[in-house]
Amino acid sequence: MAYAPSEEPVALKILVAGGFGVGKTTLVGAISEIRPLRTEEVLSDRGVGVDDVDGVEGKTTTTVAMDFGRITIREGLVVYLFGTPGQERFWFMWDELSYGALGAVVLADTRRLTDCFPSIDYFEQRGTPFIVAVNCFDDADKHEPDDVRVALDLDPDVPVLLCDVRRRASAKVVLVTLVEHALKTLTAAQRK
């Protein structure tokens, strides 16, 4: 007898990363109902030398806002999108965010390609499946995905695509590409 599929609700986590102002919030908002999520992080040694606390030595917490979206695939199957805070000083949050994540979309802006290097390094090191989505800003020169792949020195199996995160249809393609890539990674791992 076939094993009955679990009726327990399933929640999946997808991260949206990339530099400041690259369109993370827009992407999450184009495809899902975006909602605010605040974290009140306790400043610890990790902030020393990063957070300038001169004059506010009594300040022990700092508020970080995250983009948070939810897509209900069906009852009991929900995809959560989390926009990772772009600035490096919030990196301490990434480990938590990426734990158990299905995969990540790294948004890139060809005018500031270096901004997404840290995200790519991070997901490569953690072995989190990721894709690179090049957000086509109106005033940026168009680049072919392969040029971006070379510039970012990506592995050949990492999907690179152009997108316009303001458009829902484009945001959909981005997410589908990521989940397909995660599925490919999964089946490749099972074959080993």
Partner: protein, 122 residues
């Protein structure tokens, strides 16, 4: 004429967030993942133990299974604070917490195919 307002919402909360937790920033709820599913335990009465209004609200929200991130967004409190409150509720056995399914590395192929089709259909 309306009463003069001393503070509006832009001024931020009047009560510092961790005042709600008695100043505690750590609890047994620290390990709850953002998408762990919280469910209020049926049959347990919310008036058991010294619960604050925020914790009662969490119990009301979590009558249906609800993720940690959803709860934090819903009651508009920072995650760290919500985790402390959830830790208390868990210690009092008023909620059950289920870690996300895919922690063992990835969810099943069947689920992912369903997600792909669902996204395409949006």
């Amino acid at each position: 004429m309306t009463e003069p307002q001393w503070l509006d919402e832009d001024a931020g909360p009047i009560v510092r967030p961790y005042a709600l937790t008695g100043g505690r920033t750590r609890s047994s709820g620290d390990d709850f993942d953002l998408i762990s599913i919280v469910t209020a335990v049926e049959g347990r009465r919310a008036d058991e133990g010294p619960l604050g209004p925020e914790q009662r609200r969490i119990l009301a929200i979590a009558r249906e299974p609800m993720s940690v991130a959803d709860i934090a967004s819903e009651i508009d409190l920072p995650l760290g604070v919500v985790r402390v409150l959830l830790g208390d509720l868990h210690d009092h056995e008023l909620i059950s917490v289920r870690p996300p399914a895919q922690v063992a590395p990835l969810p099943s192929e069947r689920i992912l195919k369903e997600v792909i089709n669902g996204l395409r259909a949006l």
